[in-house]
């Protein structure tokens, strides 16, 4: 049964929809870390949201997935790290399928915006297949102020221009990939084709870990990702 992992976990996930942690930051300030498994019932317009779209392996293996090639997928560590600066992270677990989850991403962004969340407070981060679907969602949404981070999500066809289904996309775009990755590539050529994009950034790492770079909650990529997300936010108002 293709949904076996889902049927096992459904009950647990329903009960554990929200993981809310209070951790002490290095500076001593307490930061609320919130990782959700679905959109919250009450959406706060003042909150910054990150939608994390996981890779394909979790569709079939679940959040504790271990790849023969890349090792454990630290889904929990990654999503908690993404929430470490006060963003609310929505990290749904989807079942096996095609690209229909693109519509879900689009729907979630629209719902957040409909509830009053400014576009610049919304970021979609997708890895591998999730990254490709994030690209497609950016094409559907065409929201210049929503941020989209593509982690090893540009497939060879999209890079080569044989797959143009994401062309015409808009948004704040960041591409991250390792130079030794043979599955997901830097989106640089796709960005170059899409001149409507304002200041897209393509970061290539040379860690030698290939696709597995984004399996780990590694500050090597998480810190620049979070810095990039935060750099798109309006300047905070200072008070003396």
């Amino acid at each position: 049964m293709t949904f076996s992992f889902h049927s096992r976990l459904t009950g647990v996930l329903r009960l554990a929809t929200t993981i809310a942690l209070l951790l002490a930051a290095p500076s001593g300030h307490a930061l609320a870390q919130t990782v959700l498994r679905d959109l919250p019932e009450r959406i706060s317009p003042d909150t910054r949201y990150i939608l994390y779209v996981h890779g394909r392996i979790i569709e079939t293996e679940g959040p504790e997935a271990v790849s023969d090639r890349f090792g454990p997928y630290d889904f929990r560590g990654i999503t908690e790290a993404l929430s470490s600066r006060g963003h609310v992270v929505i990290a749904e677990l989807r079942g096996p399928g095609g690209l229909e989850y693109v519509d879900t991403i689009v729907g979630h962004v629209r719902t957040l915006q409909g509830a009053g969340v400014p576009a610049e407070n919304i970021t979609v981060v997708g890895f591998s297949k999730g990254g490709y679907m994030t690209l497609r969602a950016a094409r559907e949404l065409r929201e210049p102020d929503v941020s989209f981070a593509i982690l090893a999500g540009c497939v060879a066809e999209a890079v080569a221009g044989e797959d143009l289904s994401a062309d015409g996309l808009d948004g704040r775009l960041l591409s991250m990939a390792d130079s030794s990755d043979d599955l997901g590539f830097p989106c640089t050529p796709l960005f170059a084709r899409n001149v409507q994009l304002s200041s897209p950034i393509s970061m290539v790492f040379h860690e030698g870990s290939g696709h597995g770079l984004f399996y780990a909650a590694d500050p090597v990529w998480l810190t620049p990702l979070m810095d990039w997300i935060d750099s798109g936010l309006p300047e905070p108002e200072h008070s003396n």
Binding site: P26, S202, D227
Partner: protein, 209 residues
């Protein structure tokens, strides 16, 4: 047309003794200088920006990459000389340690990476990259000590602190990729703001008066 590689040090950082040095970010002044350089676009033939993985370097590189529509690459081995054995040192102690680092390049100061080892590392990184990057100019974003060591190696100079960058960071030197010949010693990015841009106009930004 000769292809150039430029090695640029990150500008001013926000010093926080409570966090590891590689995690320090740019200060407001540092950001402002990086943004001025980004807006001035003095090096239009740059096709790649290659950054150390340290936060202050990535912040500088991201600023430039976004403005110049340039892909950026992050190489962990381009880090500053490894000083984790001592961690943060107050300025007077740091200056004395840096003097020692350059004066005795084969010795480790209290567990620091030696200057000779750091020089071999940064030289390998820079040359390996430009060797495999066949088009356009390359801009490296890195750090003062290893940048100075790279300069010394390329210029055929002995390791000596007299070749260190001026205070404040945000300085660069250039070398010609094919011949590896150094074009000039450290210059401040405030000078780069005066360089004619791709349209031949000279920007009057910052110190360019």
């Amino acid at each position: 047309m000769k292809r150039l590689a430029r090695y640029l040090t990150h500008p001013q950082v926000a010093i926080d003794p409570n966090i590891p040095i590689p995690e320090w970010g740019l200060s407001q002044i540092g950001f402002a200088r990086a943004q001025s350089l980004a807006q001035a676009r003095p090096w239009p033939n740059t096709t790649r920006i290659v950054s150390s993985a340290e936060r202050k370097a990535i912040e500088t590189a991201t600023c430039l990459a976004a403005a110049w529509q340039c892909p950026m690459e992050i190489r962990s081995q381009m880090h500053e000389n490894d000083r984790s054995a001592t961690g943060f040192l107050p300025p007077y102690a740091f200056e004395a340690a840096a003097d020692r680092f350059f004066a005795a390049p084969h010795e480790s100061f209290r567990g620091w990476e030696t200057a000779e080892a750091a020089q071999a590392r940064i030289l390998d990184e820079a040359l390996e990259y430009v060797w495999h990057h066949p088009e356009g100019d390359v801009l490296f974003i890195g750090h003062g000590a290893v940048g100075t060591l790279l300069y010394c190696a390329l210029a055929g100079r002995p390791i000596d602190r007299q070749y260190d960058q001026p205070q404040g960071g945000g300085n660069w030197f250039s070398f010609e990729i094919e011949s590896r010949q150094v074009s000039h010693h450290w210059r401040s990015i405030d000078d780069a703001l005066c360089v004619p841009n791709e349209k031949g106009a000279t920007r009057a930004v910052g110190a360019c008066a």
